[in-house]
């Protein structure tokens, strides 16, 4: 039976190859996403799996058996909007590099995990939102003289392998020495130890670390974002109905104040006012 399994793998490989050779080759095996398969159907059947970060203070942090943070609150809003008791949501840890595969393969129904909307990703998944617009920024030690990405030449900068910020540094600031880890916690630890001069990713993630009680007074966010990172809610590419529905839910949440409440309960704890939400930008759902 092992033989037949090997044969199956080999056949599949040949198929994958030929699909690629025929050009396009997009989405060979992710399965269809009919309406029953979409998030609306999933919510109606009483269960929704949402992929979130587990190690980002303020956004998605697994504190024990529960998760907390702004992304989690947004997830609860969406679940409620879909008619599902937020307590029935199953939260699942994702890491930056596995969000697209998670959605494509159905390991999760939604991803709300500091997930930047971009064209590359739009080829694979659909994005509702954005529910927040972040910007790539730098976290440095409080006494650092770094004031922006221009001052980084020859400096050591840390980010997560496979993330958009890491890619941007490689492409746009090639003189920066880039250290990559598999989590921002390690980057922040290296920053604390002085092995790297800055940690780069979205300002909001960095703010979460800067505000963490354990790091109080040690780090600051430079505050000059050099990109615009609209955070979206990822779902199956074919699930247009679900995408549109989530956009409606987000809009309603802003109007009735639940969005602001979610912010105030998490990232806004330190007094940062809730961001203004631009409903006109909710146009990422596939046509």
């Amino acid at each position: 039976m092992r033989v037949s399994r090997m044969a199956a793998v080999a056949t599949a490989a040949v198929m994958a190859l030929s699909v690629a050779a025929c050009g396009g080759g997009e989405d060979a095996g992710s399965g269809g996403g009919g309406s029953g398969d979409g998030v609306i159907g999933k919510a109606a059947s009483g269960k929704l799996i949402i992929g979130v970060k587990s190690d980002q203070p303020g956004l998605g942090l697994q504190t024990g058996t529960t998760y907390e943070g702004f992304d989690i609150e947004v997830g609860k809003i969406v679940a409620k909007g879909l008619g599902l008791d937020p307590a029935k949501v199953e939260w699942k840890t994702t890491v930056s590099a596995n969000r697209e595969p998670f959605i494509e393969q159905g390991q999760v129904d939604l991803v709300i995990a500091t997930y930047t909307i971009n064209d590359d990703r739009k080829k694979k998944v659909a994005f509702a939102g954005p529910y927040y617009v972040a910007g790539q920024d730098l976290l440095v030690k409080t006494d650092s003289t770094i004031t922006g990405p221009e001052g980084l030449d020859g400096k050591k900068v840390c980010s997560v392998a496979g993330s958009t910020p890491a890619k941007r540094i490689k492409e746009e600031y090639p003189k920066v020495a880039l250290q990559e880890f598999d989590s921002y916690s390690k980057c922040v630890t290296a920053l604390g130890g002085g092995q790297v001069d800055a940690v780069t990713t979205d300002d909001i993630i960095l703010a979460g670390y800067a505000a963490q009680a354990e790091y109080a007074g040690k780090f600051k966010v430079v505050g000059k974002p050099f990109s615009s990172e609209p955070y979206g809610i990822g779902l199956k590419k074919t699930d247009t109905a679900g995408c549109t529905k989530i956009n409606e839910i987000l809009k309603a949440a802003v109007d009735d104040g639940t969005y602001k409440a979610a912010w105030d309960a998490t990232l806004g704890k330190g007094g940062t006012p809730a961001p203004t939400f631009d409903a006109s930008k909710l146009s990422n759902c596939p046509a």
Binding site: G31, S54, T94, Q107, T189, E214
Partner: protein, 302 residues
């Protein structure tokens, strides 16, 4: 063990003094090194109370380390059982008289021993759903299956080497009293092979326990993910968390090894003989036969 002592004479008065001097010099050097490490850690505030007090709190254990440890142990136990089964099945397969069993079994074993486990787990998790019609693979099973394929293959080689080390007279006698091949394998060869190869098998099981840590690549919530990465994110003490996790791994594996040597001593006392080939029967036999062509049955891994 006994051979170690024959390498040098019982120390006379001069040797005793020389040994004492070396002991003191090396001992002091070691202490100095440890002290230097301690001071350096201190300079970097790694002993700061706030990094270590989390380990006095129930939350740290109840919500991070213990659940992570449970997942580690669960994955390790399931993978151990499956690997041993896989190992026996493929060892027998490779010893089969039919080439159409022998050759594929050999190919499977050789392939999975040569592929890094990290790539295997990653592929099972992300790649397999593209073949099986999109059925997602839970991280737990990706880790367990990866561990089974790799460690099972190494164990298959260990069992095969063990079977070949059993003197031919034994299987001849068994055939002589009318046993079938299947019975000879089951009652005569495999039990003796397993005992002879116990040290190799155990070190491979230790490898298996450690390799569960590679589950981080698919966000499997084991000890490494929960007790180091997530705890580190919550309490900003990732280095301290990693030290604690390392201590836990060492204790588990030490217990596993101790259990194995206890079993080994018991079976030896019960008078089970393995082929003698030197001073130290069990170890020597195992070491001499453990390495057939190919990669040998040595137990090594991440």
């Amino acid at each position: 063990m006994s051979t170690d002592a024959v390498l040098y004479d019982h120390p006379g008065p001069r040797a005793k003094i020389r040994n004492l001097v070396l002991t003191v010099v090396f001992g002091l050097g070691l202490l100095a090194l440890l002290y230097w490490i301690y001071v350096k850690f201190d300079q970097k505030n790694q002993w700061a109370a706030e990094l270590w007090t989390p380990f006095l709190e129930a939350n740290t254990w109840v919500n991070f380390i213990i659940p992570g440890l449970q997942q580690t142990l669960a994955a390790a136990l399931v993978a151990m059982v499956l690997s041993l089964t896989f190992g026996i099945v493929f060892a027998v397969g490779r010893l089969s008289d039919h080439w159409w069993v022998r050759v594929p079994a050999g190919a499977v074993v050789e392939f999975f021993r040569a592929v890094p486990l990290l790539l295997m787990i990653f592929f099972i998790f992300y790649g397999l759903p593209y073949v099986n019609g999109g059925v997602p693979i839970p991280a737990f099973w990706a880790v367990v299956v990866g561990l089974t394929l790799y460690n099972g293959s190494v164990l298959a080689e260990a069992f095969r080497a063990g079977v070949r080390a059993v003197p031919t007279g034994q299987s001849e006698a068994a055939y002589g009293i009318g046993m079938r091949k299947n019975q000879v394998m089951r009652f005569i060869l495999i039990p003796q092979a397993a005992r002879a190869m116990l040290p190799v098998i155990v070190s491979q099981l230790v490898v298996l326990v450690k390799d569960t840590a590679l589950g981080y690549i698919v966000a499997f919530p084991e000890l490494m993910q929960r007790g180091v990465n997530d705890l580190g994110a919550n309490r900003a003490n990732i280095v301290a968390a990693a030290l604690v996790a390392a201590a836990i791994y060492i204790v588990i594996n030490f217990l596993l090894t101790s259990l194995a040597s206890f079993i080994e001593r018991r079976t030896r006392r019960r008078g089970i003989r393995v082929p003698r080939n030197g001073a130290n029967p069990v170890r020597t036999a195992a070491q001499n036969v453990a390495m057939p062509a190919g990669m040998g049955g040595g137990a090594v891994g991440a």
